[in-house]
């Protein structure tokens, strides 16, 4: 029981870290530009597909991952210049519609280029083993690497936001966009940078999970909506909130699926417990969101609603 708990706990953390990489870009864009981007999930998917292709071309997953980063950065830049830039001053409804159009274009485009069959990428030899945890219990190295890389990214993000000039502008932009612009900061290029950077983080997440999940055209969708839940829970615009929200959602979702039926079994008969558990588990994160919202409408770390 303890060992199962430990494994599921690590899986939950790993899922949470993945959600954080996606939600970080989203929350920056939301908080600073007041912009709804439904196309963020498909960029994560494009990242995974690019990682597959680049790994096949170079014969190495590591190189493929490295190439994916500038490629998704470029995707973000192009989208910002062609589409998003024109939408900043528009009502949310327009932003939702235009980015929804992009979702249709990109997900269908991915199917045209890569086909609809799921793809996979071979894990690098070096990271394919597992390490002992306690006693006979072992955990895959690669998942630990994902957790480590995600934590390192979180720390790097925190340093950029709190310690650098661009981070200072970013925080200022989130507080008062008009004032920052009046003080002579080129807010347009700041927006472009944030957008491209957010896209790269999403692409990074996609490339990281390519070896452990199957890469298919639907992978961006469920993750996008979970990333929304993360942001709503954490508070829009707060990277700290996105981190806390992502870990919370990752853990609740993973643990709920494995322990929900076990807990229910203590007061229901086994078949009913299994059935109820299966129905309730995927709904848990949304119930969590509802509960948090009814207590704190602006989210855990949100300043405004």
């Amino acid at each position: 029981m303890t060992s199962l708990f430990l494994i599921q706990f690590l899986n939950g953390v790993q899922f949470g870290i993945l959600l954080f990489l996606i939600a970080a870009g989203l929350t920056l864009v939301f908080g600073i530009m007041d912009f709804v981007n439904l196309a963020h999930g498909v960029i994560y998917m494009v990242g995974a597909y690019l990682a597959v292709t680049f790994s096949q071309l170079t014969g190495s997953y590591g190189l493929g991952l490295l190439l994916t980063l500038p490629a998704t950065l470029l995707v973000g830049l192009v989208l910002e210049l062609l589409v998003f830039r024109k939408l900043y001053d528009r009502p949310h409804l327009d932003q939702v519609l235009a980015t929804f159009g992009l979702v249709m274009i990109i997900s269908e485009g991915v199917e045209v280029i890569w086909g609809s069959a799921p793809l996979s990428v071979r894990m690098p030899e070096l990271l394919s083993g597992s390490v002992p945890l306690i006693g006979p219990l072992r955990y895959p190295v690669f998942r630990l690497v994902v957790i480590g890389a995600g934590l390192a990214t979180a720390v790097a993000l925190w340093l950029i936001i709190t310690r650098t000039r661009i981070g200072m502008r970013l925080r200022a932009g989130a507080t008062n966009r008009a004032m920052v612009s009046a003080l002579g900061v080129d807010i347009r290029s700041l927006f472009t940078i944030i957008f491209a950077f957010g896209a790269m983080l999403a692409g990074f997440a996609g490339a990281m999970v390519a070896p452990i999940l199957t890469v298919d055209p639907g992978m961006g969708e469920s993750v996008l909506i979970l990333a929304f839940v993360v942001i709503v829970i954490g508070g829009i615009g707060s990277v700290k909130g996105a981190f806390a929200g992502a870990l919370l959602v990752g853990l609740v979702d993973t643990m709920g699926r494995s322990f929900g039926p076990i807990i229910l079994r203590s007061f229901l008969d086994p078949s009913a417990a299994g059935q109820t558990g299966r129905v309730l588990a995927p709904m848990l994160v949304y119930i969590l969101m509802a509960v948090i919202l009814s207590v704190r409408p602006a989210g855990l770390f949100g300043a405004r609603s």
Binding site: V36, V83, L93, V96, L97, M104, V229, I236, M289, S305
Partner: protein, 312 residues
């Protein structure tokens, strides 16, 4: 306001065209036309419901497909239990939708703007996963209906034409209801909360109660569309409440012009015909549809919302 008589004419014209359509289908000997038209009617009902809160209440719900699913599963679940009457199917759908809308609306309406969009989307996704894990009704694969709903115990709706006219009657009825709602005192208060909630509060109205009531009414109306869709396809699956479908409903309302009820019906017609036409051109019609959507939003002045509002 001076356009109201024109709107009555436009409505009469549109509904007459819908009423004559089966004759044209018979004349052209094209049964598929009625199938498409029935789908259009169902989506028109859902778009009408969405326009009531989006256009008049300023609430951008990105989860209205959930109510399509609730309506559709009401048919599937009751039929499995041996209850096949259309009236009871509609009643069950409306009651279930009202409960879901009341609970999720009460939570979503505590927030504004982007939050509201994301939360309605998240709740629709919750409903989606609920039905995906409902293995008794096929889970992800859905369930095929043995027969369509019955009327007074008779299988009257087995004829495609009868189903079509039932859908048209429901659409006309709900359209008239929606017009009555928007013209009533309630509708005016709702429009007021869209324009300036603070001022409405200052003169003694609670925006929350009006918005929540409108949200519930809209959800109930949209569930009727779900009952229609289930009968048309004789098949129900969680795909009915996929978030893409919620997006398509918003697209329909905006294509037709928001805050105009009749526009939602026209928008549903335009969007579905466009889909059908593009699907003939290429299997990857979604690329073209998405492209049209992006271009229309980017290059109509002030966006679609401003574009249409000026003309109404």
């Amino acid at each position: 306001m001076r356009l109201i008589p024109n709107r009555a004419w436009a409505a009469t014209l549109l509904f007459t065209a819908f009423a004559l359509l089966p004759l044209i289908a018979v004349w052209l000997d094209d049964i598929y036309l009625i199938v498409i038209a029935t789908r259009i009617l169902a989506y028109a009902i859902a778009a009408l419901a969405l326009d009531l809160i989006l256009g008049y209440g300023g609430m951008v719900s990105f989860g209205h497909a959930a109510y399509l699913g609730i309506g559709a599963y009401s048919v599937a679940i009751l039929s499995r239990a041996g209850i096949t009457d259309l009236g009871l199917h509609l009643l069950a759908a409306i009651c279930a939708a009202a409960v879901f809308a009341l609970v999720t609306g009460a939570i979503s309406l505590r927030t504004r703007g982007i939050y509201f969009i994301m939360i309605t989307l998240a709740f629709a996704q919750m409903a989606y996963f609920f039905f995906v894990s409902l293995s008794a009704y096929g889970g992800d694969d859905g369930v095929t209906l043995a027969a369509r709903s019955t009327v007074f115990g008779q299988p009257l709706l087995e004829s495609d034409t009868a189903l079509y006219y039932t859908g048209l009657a429901l659409l006309v009825g709900l359209y008239l209801l929606a017009v009555a709602i928007t013209r009533s005192r309630f509708g005016r208060v709702l429009t007021g909360t869209r324009e300036n909630p603070v001022r409405m509060q200052a003169i003694g109205f609670s925006p929350f109660r009006y918005q929540l009531t409108a949200f519930v009414i809209s959800g109930c109306m949209a569930s009727v569309a779900g009952v229609m869709l289930a009968n048309q396809t004789s098949f129900v699956s969680p795909a009915f409440m996929d978030w893409h479908r919620s997006g398509e409903l918003v697209v329909m309302v905006v294509f037709g012009g928001i805050g105009n009820l009749l526009g939602a019906i026209a928008g549903a017609t335009i969007a579905l015909l466009l889909e059908e036409w593009l699907a003939i051109l290429t299997e990857h019609w979604q690329i073209l549809f998405g492209l049209i959507l992006v271009l229309v939003v980017l290059y109509s002045r002030d966006g679609l919302t401003g574009f249409f509002r000026r003309r109404l």
